[in-house]
Amino acid sequence: MLIRIASMIPVFFLVSIFIFLLYESIPSIFYNGWNFFTSYRWNPGMTYREPVPGPFGFRASPGASFGALLFLFGTAATSALALAIVVPVTLITTIALAMHTPRLMSRAVGASMQLFAAIPSVVYGLWGIVFLEPLLLKYVFPWTEATLGFIPWFRGPATSGSGLVASSLVLALMVLPITSAIVLDSFRSLQSRFQAPILSLGATRTEAGIAILGFARRQVIGAVFLGLGRALGETMAVLMTCGGAINMMPVDIYSPINTMAAALAALLDSAFIDASGMALSALAELGLFLMIISLASSAAGRALAGRIVLRGEAW
């Protein structure tokens, strides 16, 4: 039974990650309470002063406040916008690749998707900084200010290319390989059975494609959840393109923002110098919450789509 003992080590790791983060979060959960989800002020306080007791007797530096609303909002907004791009592109390319395109073309797209999935997160971040952000600032934002400026969120003026739009576009490129691999795979598994009957009823190829996608509804929704799980947790590419906002809620689409994963990466070293330990605990709570929502999303996706696609394994 040595094999069973060895094979249980990863199970032990997984359980210990959860228990450990929960344990580390306890001071923050009691000290911050619901404030954690309703306030956007994230401030470790005067860390050079003696810690003072707060709610439930947990101690933090004077003036400390740990509200993660900005990060929660940023994660939700970037993921939502990324999915708003990814879902239609996935559906249209699936129908086009499976119904309209010669085999060679669809295989070329498939191979390139695999490369998309294997490119490191920091390289997307670099590309976002040196290519995407100047492009947005010089050409796209002036246009949105001029044409959509009557809506307050678009009025501007934009002063930087980083923020919600850049992060979401980069995220969309990173999520697309996952969703499209699953959707195209489920589509192909139904195609041979349903394509000929539907076409013989006089449907066009597009109408047949839409009908077959309808049969694969479950897998499509599952793929979206799996993509969401990936988008929620993405760190480096977002950290590099989000603008690193802190203590300020975005006022329009040009504002800098921040996400849970990016904030964890950006704030961990400064949290370590807080002698009361509350800043570290608050980050552990942020990490725990991030883990729970991304695991929930992937679990839902796995239940619906029937499998999970690892990076680089797609296609």
């Binding site: 670099l126 947790g233 570290l280 552990a284 999970i308 680089g312």
Partner: protein
Amino acid sequence: MGMRRLRDALMGAAGLAISALLLAALLLVLAYVFYGAALRFEPEMLLTMGNATSGGLLNAIVGTWLLSGLALAISALLAIFVAIDIAQYAGARVGSLLRATVDTMAAIPAMVYGLFGFLVFVIYLGMGYSLLAGSLTLSLMMIPYLARSTETAMGNVPKELVAAAYALGASRWQVISRVLLRFGRPLIISGALLTVSIGAGETAQLLYTAGWNPGLPTWFTHSQVGYLTYVVWAGINQPTPYPQGLAFVASALLVGMILVLLLISKWLEGREVRRA
């Protein structure tokens, strides 16, 4: 009728256009990285060690290989047993527990692993920023990839071979070591290469576990280690051209390494699939 045909044609055209745009976007990212690196390349970048924003990349290149190599060794040790257990020993309940564990570990965000590695390996176990802390953290994220690919590789071995081995009186362990692992080897190696290619490109797990070292690490613990993805992150935010050049060259090196590993991995996989 005309309307429907028109819509069909439009859909086909739109799909083709979007597919072409995706291909173009990928080529653009790759071309941008490689062209940018070629413009900024200087030989000393590959030949000397440096400080992420000055000097060369030699220490970061070696560090990336050390980190992902050690992480592969650690995670392979565990993942192979998980795969063997699922394939040969586990009943339905333990099997689904192990599969669920693997799938769940694959879905944990990189930064959560980074936070866990920092708190546990660096601080509580007292390893400090080091090769061992970084590799252990990286290995957590690699386990699901390896377990999955090893399980698939062993499942791919013909059932007749396994049955024949048992019929000849082989013990369960002999079947595992001489049939499943031996005939599954090409696919296991292909999965390991894919895993290393993903691991070499990771950053978030290493920021607070590996640290940075302008030279090479001297021991497994308490000696920090540099890596390429850190150079990309640190260099591109600098206002001067040389650190940005380092970031571009580091990116190109990473993407190049990953492409080579991925191609070998796919070639091995394709050869096996054709043989079967």
